[in-house]
């Protein structure tokens, strides 16, 4: 069952990743962004299968939520029609494919040589969110409070820098 789900999520991740950059049906950047959301969500599914529940939640919250909002903002600030009209040059496409294939081959070769993961025990990360919460509020209470200050400064700083005519 878990192997089944792993292959399902891995295939979804790869398929949606390809559809982000090379969608045969539309050249609309918003569609690409939505497929990026699907890629991120299926990656979160892979994290859940690895028992990294907190990582999966953060993946969806921060990447599919916050970072995607910024992506969509940038996309909507641009002129979409110009992007859709742009032609893809055949030479650039072939070169890009060759470069990507070369890097993929190199990475596969390196991973196979390095024997990554051999002798590693499966991580016991079952209660990691709980442990993280306990550590965060006992040992790291001061840094935690400082984070809120950092966030506050970020919020106010953005507004002060971008709004010159603030009352």
């Amino acid at each position: 069952m878990q192997a089944c789900l792993f292959y399902l999520f891995a295939a979804l991740t790869l398929l949606c990743g390809v559809l982000v950059i090379a969608n045969p049906f539309t050249r609309n950047p918003v569609t690409s962004a939505m497929f990026l959301v699907l890629t991120i969500v299926s990656l979160a599914g892979l994290f859940v299968l690895l028992h990294a529940f907190f990582l999966a939640a953060v993946q969806i919250l921060v990447y599919a939520g916050a970072v995607m909002v910024l992506f969509l903002f940038v996309i909507m600030l641009l002129d979409l029609k110009e992007e859709e009209r742009r032609k893809i040059k055949a030479g650039a496409g072939v070169l890009g494919l060759a470069a990507a294939g070369g890097i993929a081959l190199l990475m596969i070769a390196v991973i196979r040589q390095s024997n990554a993961g051999v002798g590693l025990k499966p991580a016991s990360a079952e209660g990691s969110t709980l442990d993280l919460g306990k550590r965060l509020f006992t040992d790291y209470a001061l840094p935690f409070e400082l984070i809120s200050l950092v966030l506050l400064v970020a919020m106010i700083g953005t507004v002060l820098l971008s709004k010159k005519d603030l009352k």
Partner: protein, 123 residues
């Protein structure tokens, strides 16, 4: 039948997909059976009735709105810290709850400041 700890999750996922696809499929079958397929410029317009539309539905946003994006980003990051707090809530002391309250209050203070300055007000 035991298929591992995720079998019920897979069941939920399948049910969710079926739940989403069934009405679409019924609507598609209904349209295929009963409605004539005649498309034209006026039928494909953004608003089928009323005045002719001037342009497509795609518009460029005012760049001012990115402030909303930034503020959302900051409160999204706050949620990341709320999650372990909620998970470990039962074993935490009163001091930890006070720390969380200070954390939230500091961020709400920022939101109140934005509201007072009229940054998130609609124009």
């Amino acid at each position: 039948m035991n298929l591992g700890p995720y079998s019920f999750l897979a069941l939920f996922a399948i049910a969710a997909v079926i739940f989403a696809i069934t009405p679409l499929a019924i609507a598609w079958l209904w349209a295929r059976t009963f409605s004539p397929r005649k498309s034209g410029p006026s039928k494909n317009a953004n608003y089928e009735c009323g005045l002719d539309s001037q342009a497509t539905g795609w518009v460029q946003f005012q760049s001012e709105y990115y402030l909303y994006g930034i503020v959302f980003l900051i409160f999204d990051v706050e949620t990341v810290f709320l999650l372990p707090f909620a998970a470990a809530f039962k074993g935490l002391s009163a001091g930890a709850c006070a720390a969380m309250l200070i954390f939230i209050l500091l961020l709400v203070e920022g939101l109140v400041w934005l509201c007072v300055k009229g940054v998130v007000a609609r124009r």
